[in-house]
Symmetry: C3
Subunit: 316 residues, 3 copies
């Protein structure tokens, strides 16, 4: 048993689903972040903590990045992984519903990471499953492990989350990562700035919830914002989320970060991106001290290791 001494805090994670960040208190999220810190050294050298355990990755929508991150996390803990990478090769083709798929796969695996094109899919799955469900992205709704790895990156890079000014930039309507991240950030004492074109502004239900606890400003232009923030989180405008191609064409390329736009930035600004990027961040930014989007990827594996170890009871 791997033991982490976290100042007397001990929370119950074993057997829990990770469907939405809204299911967790700040205290619980802080605990996950602390476990991630404790687990990080293992990420480089491997461990036998989850030996004999199996992760099923059920990806009804392709996502190389998230799927490989979960599988790498499982392997680094000594476990194994099974699964599928797209609906085409699943029994869905044969007309099976998600509840049945989950009640089948829970017999093969100790934990299921699910990505699905429909909102509510992960919640539904968690209601039928005997093993924990981790939401690996459901529709345009949520992507909780991404939000936690984003927090972990901010914490690692800035030493704190409270007190920061943070901008979320780009597609705030269809981008699921920013929904989960906004909910998560609203548990901290931060100032949030939302920058999006009119047609892609933050969903109302998210906005109303977060405004209850943190100050939120809304902008369509990035220009002034960039000089004021500590963290700039920019997302790809995802063609595949638009019902109408014409709507996509209008907003494509709205925000671009390059050396020119960064001239006004604070010296310690960090830039995050859930990746993949298209043209939002120029390659020339990659070598600046602002770029942290590839470190985010590493942190993703670390955070997923922490989550897997917690919900499978290997860390109490």
């Amino acid at each position: 048993m791997f033991r982490v001494v976290v100042l007397g805090v001990s929370l119950k994670f074993e057997g829990r689903d990770i469907v939405s960040v809204k299911d967790f208190s700040r205290k619980e999220i802080d605990y996950i972040l602390k476990i991630a810190q404790a687990v990080e050294p293992i990420a480089a050298k491997g461990s036998d903590m989850l030996k004999g355990k199996i992760l099923a990755t059920l990806f009804f929508e392709p996502s190389t990045r998230t799927r490989l991150s979960f599988e790498a996390a499982m392997h680094k803990l000594g476990g194994s992984a099974i699964g599928f990478a797209e609906a085409e090769i699943a029994s869905v083709k044969k007309g099976e519903n998600l509840a049945d798929t989950v009640r089948v796969v829970e017999n093969y695996a100790d934990v299921i990471a699910l990505r699905h094109p429909l909102e509510g899919a992960a919640r539904l799955a968690s209601e039928f499953s005997k093993v924990p469900i981790i939401n690996g992205g459901s529709g345009a709704e949520e992507h909780p492990t991404q939000a936690i790895l984003d927090l972990y990156t901010i914490l690692k890079e800035k030493g704190k989350i409270d007190g920061l000014k943070i901008a979320l930039v780009g597609d705030l309507r269809y981008g699921r990562t920013v929904h989960s991240l906004a909910y998560a950030l609203s548990m901290y004492n931060i100032e949030l700035c939302l920058v999006a074109p009119e047609s892609l502004k933050m969903r109302r239900e998210v906005l109303e919830t977060i405004k209850e606890t943190i100050p939120v400003t809304i902008r369509t232009s990035l220009e002034k914002v960039i000089s004021q923030v500590d963290v700039l989180y920019i997302t790809r405008i995802q063609k595949e989320r638009f019902p109408e191609p014409a709507e996509y064409a209008k907003v494509k390329g709205s925000y671009k970060i390059n050396l020119e736009t960064l001239k006004k930035a604070k010296k310690n600004l960090i830039i995050l991106h859930p990746l993949p990027r298209t043209d939002e961040i120029s390659a020339e930014v990659d070598n600046t001290s602002h770029a942290r989007y590839f470190q985010q990827v590493w942190n993703g594996t670390v955070v997923r290791m922490a989550i897997l170890a917690l919900i499978l009871g290997a860390i109490k």
Copy 2:
């Protein structure tokens, strides 16, 4: 070495192919079932029994369920798995024949689980392969590990197989699982009832073989049958097996199990289904004491663990 004391019985399984249930005697199948019972505790906690061994899953036809079950079984025994999930991504695309594919893959793996759309594919593969071939479904013909897990489920739930009245219901012509199961059941002292629409009745070669050893009645209506049987095994009518869509439309939805149809059932009736289901069994049946189709899935992994351990020589 894992040792099972089975009342002096010791049969040779190491290196054997699992192509058809007809290749096995009742004594041998009973032995596999006993090994499955012995192995079941390991299914929950994992083992190193097959450490260093590799399973190749060559699925020329998609089947999430069967493929994941084999891979989970292998991982639970400490082994690893490689393979492909559909012909599209295989070198078949480049015009390679099955014999060559097998003679290549036998160099990568210690055992091969094969699913193929053509009847006879598993037999052909076994003739060319130096490593054991497990038939994971070939055409509409056979699916032997499914039949053995079906037997295992009946044995676990009923405490015996001999003496039972068992109905096979649905597509008995194209459904490969019922062919293998009928052959397997014909080795036991049971009464079999076959219920199918005229166009989907049991293949003649199967019927003639099983009638030599067990009493078989043939019905088109499920109504009277349901009150008489101990085990009701129902299958999906598989659209993809029909040469003509019009033929499918005629028989689609022929049999449906719901609370109404179950009113006449014996109190201890158990309902099995190889899954995935479409509309043959209503969701309302899932919580009744009759439903055993999700337990079947678990049993599938257990039986495949037993088979892998036996043919790879980890259990003698």
Copy 3:
């Protein structure tokens, strides 16, 4: 630490990319071949040499054979594997460039095996990656691990490479394996004969390079050549490499090895083929003493084990 005593030779492989055979000296290739000999016994029984290490197989083009060989090699050394088997399911679909994909995946894995349809892809990847890149085939250009396993097969079967007469037959223009093999063979004291139809003759840049160090004869007919050589390496004429289907039709089936053509062969001639084959080698040849193409497959796993162990520092 696994230690191989190789007569005082000790070369630096840890952390190196395997992009082209041209990046290696003969001394280095000989060293890989010696390590392969030392590692071969492990291929049958498994090892924990790379426990905790992860291989990512990024196959932007399908190749069951090469992908499974790398994964089997990794599993036999106690490591694990993650990845994708075709570009369709990769984030490429979302418009990501290769440099970003590599900078993401290096966070999940300790080594990356890459197959890509474009020439130069592996080299580009190696420039961006912090972890070693193994070229698993890039465009029609190179396939270095195939070349090394071909050398290993010749060495095992003939006891030497120097002094042999070797023919490369078939598609010498688009076939990437023959390019890598020609470069590799040009480091040894051999005589090379290139047999190809006019439209598929060896690329000029390869030919000019190898002619600097070894004698090369060029033929369009296989007839006379077959009686003179010790090793006949024949390749499939790959339809998918031809820009024009009409060009393919003209040369399809140019060379066929059967019992008749082998009548004139040397008694100890060995026939190699990178597989898959189509009709270049008749099935009747498989059981002759000349056939070595399935042994090549086994050797491929052994050589890839040696390479993985070397570049990950498990063997010094």
